[in-house]
């Protein structure tokens, strides 16, 4: 295959952020790039089909979110991401484009600390005259009624987040926690490096390149707008992160196996000496770990196969969006 692998540095950065400390070999990044591309293609195809079911020719944001609707944590993160985008855009419009990034972040952080509905709460200063808009999910419970249901507001004492929300936020918190632990011991330069890597994206300012790489023109006849590309960028980051985490788990399981076997066969490793080369470097995540991780993620749930018990035949599966 003579594919030129174009996203190696981005993927390396993303893997670094997701827990892989060693430099991954080219093979690994190549596999990840292939997987990401096939996932993007699959997502676009399914989203197009979804839009066609709606009767529209162009993909909307909701179509993409529909594909990942089962993963509440991711949906929430995505919505947060999109709302930040809105904030940035509106703020830029307000200030005429001469806003410093740092100021904006502070102000917005201040606004976010307040209750979520920024509309009724009196914004601090003229910059806050915008609303942090949340993407409405058509399949959500609140949208199933002919009357518009008011958002649950915290200061009303309305029902807090339900179990799913809790679980979803749990996953997010977990991720934050592990990131926190990793960065706890970093020096300033390391932390700068870390934050740069965190911003690695497939699509940020590279929309054209992304479109060409994914072959979007071949997939849909309508040109997806920038929102879609941003969402895809977010989702691809998530894919790489999930893949890396799974691959690390697979690698650790294998390493544990190796250790157990070596213990059983009584070849004791000699004690560690001071000038031994570090072990970790010799064991980056390999391509086979990544493929195994991908396979694990493509596992179908038992409920999807329950009705096929006792009967043979080919099970037609669709590639699952991670």
């Amino acid at each position: 295959m003579s594919d030129k692998y174009r996203y190696k540095p981005e993927i390396q950065q993303m893997m670094f952020v997701s827990g892989e400390t060693n430099d991954p070999p080219t093979e690994t990044t190549a596999v990840i790039e292939d997987i990401v591309r096939s996932q993007v293609v699959e997502m676009l195809l399914q989203a197009t089909a979804q839009a066609a079911k709606r009767g529209s020719r162009s993909i909307a944001v909701e179509d993409l979110i529909f594909l990942i609707r089962h993963d509440r944590a991711k949906v929430n993160r995505l919505r947060t991401y999109l709302s930040w985008k809105d904030v940035r855009k509106n703020a830029k419009d307000q200030e005429g484009g001469a806003v410093e990034g740092a100021d904006l972040l502070e102000d917005v952080a201040g606004a976010a600390a307040a209750p979520t509905a920024t509309g009724p709460a009196d914004p601090v200063g003229p910059k806050m005259k915008y609303r942090k808009s949340k993407v409405k999910l058509p399949w959500d419970l609140t949208n199933m009624f002919p009357e518009p249901v008011p958002d649950a507001e915290d200061d009303d004492g309305a029902a807090g987040p339900d179990e799913d929300e809790l679980e979803a936020s749990l996953a997010t918190l977990q991720r934050l926690k592990s990131a926190d632990e990793r960065t706890r011991a970093m020096t300033k330069e390391e932390y700068v490096h870390w934050s740069e890597c965190r911003q690695a994206s497939f699509t940020f300012r590279k929309g054209k390149r992304f479109r060409e790489w994914a072959g979007i023109s071949a997939l849909t006849d309508s040109k997806p707008n920038d929102d879609i590309i941003d969402i895809l960028g977010f989702l691809t980051f998530e894919i790489v992160a999930v893949l890396t985490e799974e691959a690390i788990k697979v690698k650790e399981a294998e390493d544990e196996m190796e250790m157990r076997r070596s213990k059983r066969t009584k070849t004791r490793k000699t004690e560690r000496f001071l000038f031994d080369p570090p072990d970790e470097d010799q064991r980056p995540v390999l391509a086979k770990h990544v493929t195994e991780a991908f396979r694990n993620l493509q596992r179908s749930k038992p409920k999807q196969q329950a009705l096929r018990n006792f009967s043979g035949g080919l099970v037609r599966t669709r590639t699952a969006v991670i």
């Binding site: 788990k249 196996m257 596992r299 009967s311 035949g313």
Partner: protein, 407 residues
């Protein structure tokens, strides 16, 4: 003899007609007395262009009577009836199949037939009846002229073309129905190829045949291709060598199959690798499903690690030719397609399991159970699976029907 035949036919006719006891058609009682004469007349007089054979030989009763030439009778009758022939035909057919009673037949026929034609009608019917009692005619077509409608086959006097063979051929061909003739004309070179659904036996035989492609241009040497195909058939299968195929083995087989099916350009270099990757994925998937079904949920956390560990344990029995992949990918290497290999692997594994602290053994029974539960994980049950199910030992008590509850 003739009288006997006549009386036999007449009694037959009386018996067949006599359900309601009413007298048969006005026409028929007469020939009861006169059957002999009309038959003799037709036998001798015949008609124009008669080729009638003499009917009954009165002398030797042992010889089976020859059939009466009904065709000429019919043609004459038809000519006489003219346009009413179709109607007549329908009426007779309905009567003979039971749709009309004799009264209705009489009524209908009285409209069509006049006195002379009544006689011809009788002759025709009785001659047909007599023929029915004799041996079937040599030509199996029967009397095609009966079935033809007037407009389909206008009554023609056959021309005497000079060539007797052509005349005979023509008369034979015109003896077919138009539909038959159209069908014969429509037979082209590959008309019979798309038959009805061929049976599985035929399909299996066709699938097992080795297909050699026809090469159009000579630069792809045909010898090479056939050699490749035969080589691919000689490559050992996984069930024979008890190991997963390596790249070379895979390439040989894929190439042979590609050639057989007409892809004469061969295969790219990466194809065996992709195929092997797919095979490994499939096998791992199957093993994962197996473990999911067999292992209880409380060990779920262990299942991933033990999945890897079990695979490793069986790897010792089965060598993997490729040295690139580490031992752990030999997850897939127990020859899953051969239940025997798994059984071997599992048996030997048992000896080493005392070292494992958990009971993370899957046995052949587990595998049989999982396969029975979900044969779709390997798409279709195949030979080794049937063998696995057959060699399972069952408790006799399980097979007995449940005892009925006595009141």
């Amino acid at each position: 003899m003739l009288a006997q035949a006549a009386s036999r036919t007449s009694t037959q006719s009386a018996a067949s007609h006599g359900v309601n006891g009413s007298a048969s058609t006005r026409a028929s009682p007469q020939p009861l007395k006169k059957t002999s004469s009309p038959m003799m007349q037709t036998a001798q007089s015949g008609g124009p262009a008669a080729q009638t054979t003499t009917t009954n030989t009165p002398s030797k009763p042992q010889r089976p009577a020859r059939r009466i030439e009904v065709e000429q009778l019919m043609n004459d009758f038809r000519r006489a009836l003219g346009t009413n022939w179709d109607h007549y035909r329908e009426i007779i057919t309905s009567f003979l199949t039971g749709h009309l009673t004799r009264i209705e037949l009489e009524r209908e026929l009285s409209v069509i037939l006049d006195r002379s034609m009544v006689r011809m009608h009788n002759q025709f019917l009785l001659a047909s009846l007599a023929n029915a009692l004799r041996d079937p005619p040599p030509s199996m077509n029967g009397l095609p002229a009966w079935n033809m409608r007037s407009k389909d086959a206008p009554l023609r006097i056959s021309k005497n073309s000079g060539d007797p063979v052509v005349a005979k051929l023509k008369s034979e061909i015109m003896g077919f129905t138009p539909r038959e003739r159209r069908r014969i004309k429509a037979i082209t070179r590959d008309a019979g190829k798309k038959g009805p659904m061929p049976s599985t036996i035929v399909l299996t035989k066709q699938a097992r045949l080795v297909k050699f492609p026809s090469v159009k241009d000579k630069e792809k040497s045909k010898i090479n291709i056939t050699q490749e195909i035969t080589q691919s058939y000689q490559a050992p299968l996984a069930t024979e060598s008890f190991e997963l195929p390596d790249t070379d083995n895979m390439r040989t087989r894929i190439l042979g199959i590609a050639y057989e099916h007409g892809l004469l350009d061969g295969i790219a270099n990466d194809v065996p690798d992709v195929m092997l990757a797919g095979l490994e994925y499939h096998l791992r998937d199957f093993l994962q499903q197996l473990l999911d079904r067999v292992r209880p949920k409380k060990h779920k956390k262990m299942s991933d690690t033990t999945f890897v560990s079990l695979a490793n344990a069986s790897a010792q029995f089965i060598t993997h030719a490729s040295t690139k992949e580490s031992v752990n990918t030999s997850t897939a290497e127990n020859g899953v397609k051969s239940g025997a290999a798994v059984v071997n692997g599992v048996k030997a594994k048992r000896q080493r399991t005392q070292q494992y602290e958990d009971d993370n053994i899957i046995t052949a029974e587990d595998m049989a159970l999982a396969l029975e539960l979900a044969p779709h994980s390997i798409v279709e049950p195949s030979g080794p699976m049937y063998r696995l199910w057959d060699v399972m030992l069952r408790d006799e008590m399980d097979d007995l029907p449940a005892p009925s509850v006595q009141q």
